[in-house]
């Protein structure tokens, strides 16, 4: 069990399947009709099939793949949003999922109120957030808008606030699903710097991006997904070169 200590994430034979026809049966009326007519046929779709890999503590793994390869589904399985249809997921430590920044924001709430709300969604207490309030406001550069309801924010402002809250507490595992593509060039630089600074301290990072240059810059390892299957996993240079050839 000694190797388990250094593993931050481990997936064993994870399969995630969805029923594409589920929308046919979501009311009592249709359910009763379905019983009368006999079972409607199900069309199952495997978004992830039989995926196994492990990530060591402190590794920064880039996840590459075309649209529909299952990258986001994989992120959600790791984050615990989806319970896999079969297989197991092991995680060590606090996970900060940044699958969509500001999931849990309420548009009627002001920026300040959302700091506490989103903080508690991520599992931080009100006291924690009070201590880090100024830090968040400063990093997001929203000082004069912090008491304005979120519905009046631009999408860039929301993303900035979301990023500032999600990164204020150092997690053990950071899941980033194309979140660095938000904001203007200046904020992009700032957020990348922030992420890099979070990474020296043994933080494990799973990073989804279509920007290969960015993946090369941030990650030391990478994997390629294709149609729900893991087809390659290894050091960044080797994988990135292979992905470049695939997408030529």
């Amino acid at each position: 069990m000694s190797d388990k200590v250094t593993e931050a994430i481990k997936l064993e034979n994870v399969t995630m399947s969805f029923n594409l026809h589920k929308e046919k049966l979501d009311s009592v009326k249709e359910y009763v009709l379905g019983l009368v007519k006999g079972k409607t046929k199900k069309q199952m779709f495997n978004a992830l099939s039989d995926i196994s890999f492990s990530v060591n503590k402190g590794d920064r793994v880039g996840v590459l793949g075309l649209n529909g390869a299952g990258k986001s589904t994989l992120m959600k399985v790791i984050a615990g949003v989806y319970e896999p249809t079969s297989g197991n997921v092991y995680k060590e430590g606090v996970v900060a999922p940044m699958i969509e920044l500001g999931a849990g924001f309420d548009v009627q709430y002001t920026g300040a109120e959302n700091i506490y709300l989103y903080g508690s969604v991520l599992g931080h207490s009100r006291k924690d957030m009070q201590q880090r309030f100024d830090e968040i406001v400063e990093f997001s550069e929203l000082k004069e808008f912090i008491d304005v309801p979120l519905k009046n924010y631009s999408s860039g402002m929301r993303a900035r606030l979301g990023f500032a809250i999600a990164t204020v507490v150092k997690p053990d595992i950071l899941i980033l699903d194309e979140v660095l593509s938000v904001g203007d060039a200046k904020f992009k630089k700032k957020s990348e710097a922030k992420l890099m600074s979070m990474m020296d301290e043994q933080t494990t990072v799973i990073f989804v991006s279509h920007n290969l240059a960015q993946v090369r810059r941030i990650c030391n390892k990478a994997m390629i997904l294709e149609k729900g299957r893991l087809i390659a996993y290894g050091d960044i240079d080797e994988i990135a070169t292979r992905y470049e050839e695939m997408t030529k």
Binding site: F18, N19, K22, D26, S27, V28, K29, Y31, K76, A79, G80, V81, Y82, E83, V95, P97, I99, E100, A103, G104, D106, Q108, Y109, E113, Y116, L117, S120, V121, L122, G123, H124, S125, R126
Partner: protein
């Protein structure tokens, strides 16, 4: 029991969700909290005038009778409907972050319970004005109110589980609630029915048991222990059943949203 452990870890989020419900309800409304007191007061007046005249109830304390029944019914209907909708309402959150799903129906019931406690001020006011003075027995009202809380949570858990699979359950439940309202003796005296052949409509209705005991406490009478026991037993049963089916199905909710 993992569900309860997770709940404890996320207690801050629970408080935030309840707080959010209350804050947003009263934001941008001039009357604010006063509104949740005016609403039951107005309904009480209408019901008193209509049913007092219709059924010939001219007792001075009839409004207190109506208000106490109606407040409890409102809590039950609002909190169960809220729980039923809670999974769909928080769809955005459920699809993006991991949060114990038990939080959604639970915070919805808790939020409605807080509103209910605020509206008890109205009941106190009306009671004093109409000469129903507090007695030591009024303290016992806490028992039916506790039963009511667990009953709402239990029914809410069952409904929120079913509601995430069936979109139209909301409308069916509205019909169900209407039947419950008529079968809970809110704006009529129960005696005629309790003495008739169809007395089961009331005596086996756990919500009526709660309402009846709550009224007894308000009017300084003793509670009916059979009713208290029956309603408490019912509440515990739905709570356990609700918890089990919720925990068993919670991972499937996301596939149906």
């Amino acid at each position: 029991m993992t569900g309860i452990k997770e709940l404890y870890q996320y207690r801050d989020l629970f408080c935030e969700l309840v707080r959010k419900g209350i804050r947003l309800k009263y934001r941008r409304s001039y009357l604010g909290v006063v509104w949740s007191m005016i609403e039951p007061l107005l309904t009480m007046i209408v019901l008193t005038v209509v049913f007092g005249t219709l059924l010939g109830h001219h007792e001075k304390t009839f409004p207190v009778y109506i208000l106490s029944g109606r407040l409890i019914y409102t809590l039950f209907s609002q909190s169960t409907t809220g729980a039923l909708k809670s999974i769909r309402q928080n769809e955005g959150l459920i699809k993006k972050v991991f949060v114990p799903k038990l939080l959604y129906p639970l915070s919805s019931v808790a939020f409605n319970y807080v509103l209910f406690l605020i509206s008890l001020v109205v009941l106190a006011g009306v009671s004093l004005v109409l000469g129903v003075y507090p007695t030591i027995k009024m303290l016992m009202a806490i028992l039916p109110l506790i039963v009511l809380f667990f009953m709402s949570v239990g029914v809410g858990l069952i409904l929120s589980t079913l509601g995430s699979f069936f979109r139209d359950l909301e409308y069916l439940w509205n019909v169900g609630l209407m039947l419950v309202m008529y079968a809970s003796a809110i704006f009529y005296y129960p005696d005629a029915i309790l003495e008739s052949k169809v007395s089961w409509i009331l005596s086996y209705n756990p919500l009526f048991c709660v309402i009846s005991n709550f009224r007894s406490c308000i009017f300084g009478e003793s509670m009916d222990m059979t009713m208290l026991g029956y309603s408490a037993g019912f509440a515990m049963t739905v709570l356990v059943v609700g918890y089990i089916i919720f925990e068993k199905n919670k991972n499937k909710f996301i596939l149906h949203l």
